[in-house]
């Protein structure tokens, strides 16, 4: 199934070749969890601070249980803030 994977700020270094504007479309197997996806691209767990699926926050404890669906947009940030 196809999903979008987005890594921002310092995490953009972990995006595979072919990504553009902090985003890449990926073909992944059914049932993959958001936590597995983050591990697959070797994003350090402590750096994956803000994890959103379709804009909704996924708490750390749920990341290895939250299964992705076709068309999902996964976005990840390190600890950041602004104002």
């Amino acid at each position: 199934m196809k999903i979008a994977f987005k890594l921002f700020a310092s995490l953009s270094d972990y995006l595979p070749a072919g990504s553009r504007d902090n985003r890449i479309e990926l073909d992944v197997e059914e049932g993959v969890t958001v936590g597995e996806l983050i591990r697959r691209y070797q994003v350090p767990e402590r750096s994956a601070h803000l994890v959103l699926v379709n804009g909704i926050f996924i708490p750390p404890a749920q990341r290895l249980r939250h299964r992705l669906k076709p068309g999902d947009e996964v976005a990840v940030w390190p600890p950041i803030a602004g104002g």
Partner: protein
Amino acid sequence: MGWNRKILRVDLTKGICSEEPLNMQWAQEYLGSRGLATKYLVSEIDPKVDPLSPDNKMIMATGPLTGTMASTGGRYTVVTKGPLTGAIACSNSGGFFGAEMKFAGWDMIVFEGRSPKPVYLYVENDRAELRDAAHLWGRSCWETEETIKHELQDPLVRISSIGRAGENGVHYACIVNDLHRAAGRSGVGAVMGSKNLKAVALRGTRGVSGIRDFGEFMQATTAAKKVLADNAVTGQGLPKYGTQVLMNVINEIGALPTRNHRDVQFEDANKISAEAMHEKRPTDGKPHLVTNAACFGCTIACGRISEIDKGHFTVKNSPKYWGASGGLEYEAAWALGAANGVGDLEALQYANLLCNEQGMDPISFGATVGAAMELYEMGVLTKEQIGLDAPFGSAEALARLAEMTATGEGFGRELGLGSKRLCTKYGHPELSMSVKGQEFPAYDSRGIQGMGLAYATSNRGACHLRGYTVASEVLGIPVKTDPHVTEGKAELVKAFQDATAVFDSAGICVFTSFAWTLADVQPQIAAACDGDWSMDRLNEVGERIWNMERQFNNAAGFTAKDDNLPPRLTSEPARTGPAKGMVNQLDKMLPEYYQVRGWTPEGVPTAETLARLGL
């Protein structure tokens, strides 16, 4: 105790500068800076005064930690009655000006009356005098700063000034210090302009004395700095990416107000983000961002210094804008960009430079342009009226309107009065995206419910810096709450509002609160100041300041009806993103908020609340 114990009173009408002792009883009750200056203001002016009349006063104030070795201890506050809102105006700024006031031996400067001719105040330690500013009137903040430094032959003099926006009465004019730091919101620069006061130039060589226990203070400030350094947000995220890193976050959660809040997501958000600031431009191969920068005593250094593309249409014939300068920050990038649908980073920086140069708030300016663009697209405003085509997304219109507003040319005069007056004049007051006349910052409250309550109840009109629940609702600081629910938000908003009043009044930057809680601030204040500065006491001081500001606004004529949001946010559901279908449910939160505050259902502090807080 972190105080010089004296204030400077400047009677501009008579041209007299005089020294007074600082009211130390009030310093115990209101801490400093925002709280203490507001206490002075509300004690000295009629709440119904015309903000631009000589009867209004304007106070520049430091806090007990300003000028000390506390991290970020460089803040100063400008307190007055604001022309944009008619409410209390309280804008604070970093840079180096606040610390210099302390070094010169003053805690606060109170300006009253109106000078018969343009003047600037020069202070060198004990010496304070008003000087002729005829040659500075009509000049920008940048020219003013350069000219005064040259005249005084002193590159270390610190200057706050107004540009042409403040002289022309732009209702959201700023006071700019150190070239690109600003007391930005609510039009404090217009008040300064109405007093014919062009600038304040300070030179202090005395350092800060009077710390209660210096050894204890060293320990407390060192420990607190370690907290900032060890925290991933204040130690790494903010210095590397600045505030603008929020652009993609807020867009992703569907709360990035776009095209005057018609939309909640901007298709070009990534083009105006912190990530884009780091990317090399195809035109000249250079990234926009040159370096980060810190204000006095700051160990975070979130500030951005960038360089515009010299070949861009906005500056190709204006070399004066080619050097490295301040910006972009998140709020400015949003207000000049997403708020009016412009995704051209260089155009945003150009408009931002004009805001810094001529002293105007990019948030209110950008949001007012957004309102004008909507009126233009509706056919209410025409090309002939505006003087140019102004559809959403036009970088050319943004740049030209910034020039016109900054210099008071043509339709820029109307834009300079803010979106509320503009939209009311043209028959659509509902299209002003504002509260109490002040434009929203960069968070759409349909997708972040608590911010709707924070905006509606902010004492200076719509503002993110009175109660930044985004920290909790989006970023999980100090704990994550659900941005889509209303439950618990009344308590959350109150807690943020009261704590922020303490941070502001101490003389430190509110960005420390991404890592510090009041428990980190308390030992620093307790070591610096005489008296009981327990956590309970600080919480009480924060609540007292909030209620004092509220009482001023109530006396100025504001009522519960003004604790409101534009109908677009409470009746037009978000069209895309995770908040799709949602409106802000202010009606659910507001009654609970009044209750939590100890106010009547009409939004008035009860006698019991006032007695408890000693008001």
